[in-house]
């Protein structure tokens, strides 16, 4: 029962995290920042806007991106197979990418292209993370991982690699070239407006939930450790976001793959000797 509620409110939780993040980031810059509920006010405002579309396929694929991501989050909550979830998550990313390419817009294309390249960076690391969990727990099932004790010590290097891909997924500096604020006017998001943009907006919140749920897996069955991990990582990601500059896509891939894959490789080799 609690799972069902959790799944239903997942976008709201994501929205709250997003709102909180804007406050924290503002405070780090000694600004007041918006209220925590600001994302929801944005949503209310967007409903009133006139719906403008470039073509129906574009809009439908955007909605499918959101729906698929919600399903992915549901699968994580229900404790399904981690490797399977990673591939399902790929499907949601693909919907967004195809949507980006289906509009005849330069910025949309650049954004979608960068989204694809970002995939090269984070997807292998996600797979390595899953394999790390598998080698320790003997199963890809999240329900099993959650019932075992925390293995963060044994998976520490993989944990570091995982930390590196969080900014990519959450569009945070230094790895936010996929969206890049004004530089490519929002990338894939540019041609969405009104109610259709809301789906993309909520998908962003779900991405937060997805990433933090995966992060909690490193805490195993300990809820306290999970809370500590989430808060620390939350602060860390925002600190890094505030203090670093955006780097180019090709450097992003080189850095994340180079360091991330080496770290996870060493970790897996280490595990094989245990």
């Amino acid at each position: 029962m609690i799972e069902v509620i959790l799944i239903i409110v997942a976008p709201i939780i994501g929205g709250l995290i997003y709102g909180l993040e804007r406050v924290v980031r503002a405070r780090m810059q000694r600004r007041q920042g918006p209220p925590i509920l600001q994302p929801f006010y944005d949503m209310l405002k967007l409903i009133d806007k006139q719906a403008l579309i470039v073509n129906p396929y574009h809009s439908i694929l955007g909605i499918m991106h959101f729906v698929t991501l919600w399903v992915v989050v549901a699968f994580v909550v229900l404790g399904q197979n981690l490797l399977y979830i990673i591939f399902l998550h790929l499907l949601s990313a693909i919907f967004l990418i195809i949507a980006g390419f289906s509009a005849k817009s330069i910025y949309s294309h650049i954004g979608a292209n960068r989204e694809l390249q970002a995939m090269i960076a984070y997807e292998p690391i996600l797979i390595m993370t899953a394999v790390g969990f598998y080698m320790i727990n003997g199963s890809f099932d999240i329900s099993v991982i959650r019932n075992n004790t925390s293995e963060i010590a044994g998976l520490f290097l993989i944990f570091l690699a995982f930390l590196m891909i969080i900014p990519i997924k959450l569009k945070k500096s230094p790895f936010d070239a996929t969206e890049a604020h004004q530089e490519i006017v929002g990338g894939v998001e540019i041609e969405y407006s009104g109610i259709f943009f809301e789906f993309l907006y909520m998908a962003k919140w779900l991405e937060y939930v997805f990433i933090y749920l995966l992060l909690m897996l490193f805490a195993g069955d300990s809820l306290i450790l999970g809370a500590v991990l989430s808060v620390t990582v939350f602060l860390l990601v925002n600190l890094v976001d505030n203090s670093t500059a955006r780097i180019k896509m090709k450097h992003l891939i080189k850095i994340v793959l180079g360091i991330g894959l080496s770290l996870s490789m060493i970790n897996l080799i280490g595990l094989s000797y245990v």
């Binding site: 579309i53 591939f87 195809i98 509009a103 005849k104 817009s105 897996l268 080799i269 094989s272």
Partner: protein, 587 residues
């Protein structure tokens, strides 16, 4: 009469009967024959196979030796008249080695025919998928400028190919295996050169000499096997294998690498694209290249330690590199070709791991890859014949003109990457079985990284192509209406049905849970439905934002340029790995 003999002899008879006769008679006959073969291969799985010894009479053996000599002489003759030194050289080398094999040949006999689970699965792939390809070849070949006899000959050759393939997956005798291996080389040589122009004949010769390396490798394996193990039979060789002396196995795997167009032997498969498209479909999906994973699966029980590890590493490395190389391509068939090379390498790697799970994954991949590739090449044929398109960059906004072709291409690509299709299941199981192996040997981590990167590249590749298809314009200037012949659409739907059945079998065998199958199916299936129904009539249409630029932007597909030095490095690494494998087995 047993099923295997029907499957071998019937296509031969069919080949003769379609050779003569008019268009209509030939088409009807072909469809009936294909249905028959599919039926026989299906009933085969339900029959309880009796493990009786089947020995061919000495007369038949002499006939095979005679055939072999004729094939080799033909290769030599082609090399001489086409003035191609490599072909001539390899033909001569094979003749000498073959003479040695016949001279030394062992007297101990075992069963000449051995049908196991793998053979039965291969029958399904060869006859059903291959059959569907023959059906659409009927439509394709009519639009070529050949004489009636040459058109019929094309269909006949395809039937002949099926017969050889059915035989090759049934035999237990390596000498016969060699003959059939050479016959597939011969078939592909004739088929690739079918257009008769200069490029075709050049590429056909390339295919010929590269495939002859495989023949040489089998002959060396045979000689070593006869001198060391005193046998020419797969089962005896595998059962009596001495872990310190794996040379025959290694040489047979090299033959598999050649047939599977694994890097550095990849040039022939890409060159084969000049042939009529059904040939590519045939070579890539149901026949020819599938000999490679089949042979690997057969040899897997005899592999151990070093050999198994190095083949896995070679396979996963090629999987990774071929996917990477494919990213820089624009020619639709070339993209499909490189992805075939990649996936075949993955199959071979899986077979070499040899655990129950990896073997199953390999079989699943063989079946699904055949269906998906047949479907995709069929769409390539439609693009070529009905729309005159060959390059991905030109297929802009195809969805406006032919939504069904787009649907099939999307399904084809999705079935190679996404859940719940077989290729996904295979990749899933591949990662799992390699993760298990890491515990035994840390070097398998490399294989894991190759798979992780390779699968991302492949996804990228497929969706790079898809992005071109869906680009819909707001202002649709003109609708191009093209009629696609029935002989193309019906096979497309048949292949789609096969995919669905395949997924059902996976579900039935409990590879995936109910949720794991149905959720993605619904998610993917709902998209075309929404496309057709949701039109957002009330929403305002706007032009895209171009920062105030007045000129319409020209959008092309992006490329990932891969430096020449990388390409060289990939070939060098692959070659070195194979040499290491041979040397390691010798020491």
């Amino acid at each position: 009469m047993t099923t295997y003999s029907i499957l071998i002899i019937a296509p031969l008879l069919f080949a003769f009967s379609v050779l003569f006769g008019g268009l209509r008679v030939r088409n009807v006959l072909t469809v009936v024959f294909v249905l028959f073969l599919a039926g026989v291969s299906l009933t085969n799985i339900f029959l309880v196979s009796s493990s009786t010894q089947i020995l061919f009479s000495p007369l038949l053996h002499y006939l095979f030796i005679l055939l072999d000599s004729i094939v080799l002489i033909y290769f030599l003759w082609q090399g001489v008249i086409k003035k191609h030194n490599l072909v001539t050289f390899f033909a001569l080398l094979q003749m000498m080695l073959y003479a040695a094999v016949v001279f030394f040949s062992s007297s101990i006999t075992s069963s000449d025919i051995l049908i196991d689970e793998i053979s039965s699965t291969m029958y399904l792939v060869i006859n059903i998928v291959g059959g569907i390809i023959i059906v659409y070849a009927l439509g394709y070949i009519e639009s070529e400028k050949f004489s009636r006899f040459k058109k019929n000959g094309f269909i006949a050759l395809l039937f002949f190919f099926l017969s050889i393939m059915n035989f090759i997956v049934s035999t237990n005798n390596i000498e016969i295996f060699f003959l059939l291996f050479e016959l597939t080389t011969l078939c592909s040589y004739i088929l690739i050169a079918y257009h008769g122009d200069e490029v075709s004949s050049e590429n056909a010769l390339k295919a010929l000499w590269i495939n002859q390396i495989g023949g040489v490798a089998i002959l060396i394996a045979l000689i070593v096997s006869i001198t060391q193990y005193d046998t020419v039979y797969f089962d005896m060789l595998i059962n009596n294998i001495n872990e310190l002396y794996l040379l025959p196995i290694v040489f047979l795997t090299i033959a598999a690498f050649v047939k599977g167009a694994s890097i550095p032997f990849d040039k022939w498969l890409l060159g084969a694209m000049v042939a009529p498209t059904p040939v590519s479909a045939m070579l890539h999906s149901a026949t020819m290249v599938k000999i490679a994973p089949y042979l690997m699966l057969k040899l897997a029980p005899a592999m151990s330690g070093f050999v198994s590890l190095s083949i896995t590493l070679i396979g996963t490395f090629v999987f990774f590199s071929a996917s990477l190389l494919a990213l820089s391509k624009d020619y639709f068939k070339e993209i499909l070709g490189l992805s075939t090379i990649a996936l075949l390498a993955l199959m071979m790697a899986l077979a070499a791991i040899g655990t129950k799970e990896a073997t199953t994954a390999c079989l699943v991949l063989i079946v699904f890859h055949a269906i998906s590739k047949a479907l995709l090449f069929l769409q390539a044929a439609i693009l070529e014949k009905s729309f005159n398109l060959k390059y991905v960059n030109d297929i802009n906004g195809l969805i406006n003109h032919s939504p069904f072709v787009v649907l099939f291409i999307v399904v084809g690509f999705a079935s190679l990457t996404l859940p719940p299709f077989g290729a996904f299941v295979a990749k899933f199981m591949a990662i799992e079985s390699i993760a298990n192996e890491i515990g035994n040997n840390p070097l398998y981590v490399l294989a894991l990284i190759f798979i992780a990167l390779g699968s991302v590249f492949l996804t990228l590749l497929y969706f790079k192509v898809l992005t071109k298809l869906l680009a819909k314009d707001v202002s649709q200037e003109k609708e191009i209406h093209v009629d696609i012949p029935k002989l193309f659409t019906v096979p497309s739907f048949a292949l789609l049905a096969l995919l669905v059945m395949g997924v059902y079998v996976l579900y039935e065998k409990e590879f995936l849970t109910t949720a794991q199958v149905f959720v993605p199916v619904v998610l993917i299936a709902v998209v075309p439905l929404l496309f057709a129904t949701l039109l957002f009539k009330k929403a305002h249409r706007v032009k895209e934002y171009h920062c105030g630029e007045k000129e319409e932007p020209q959008l092309n597909m992006y490329y990932f340029e891969i430096a020449r030095s990388y390409k060289m490095a990939i070939t060098v690494v692959a070659t070195v790995l194979i040499l290491v494998l041979i040397l390691g087995a010798m020491l």
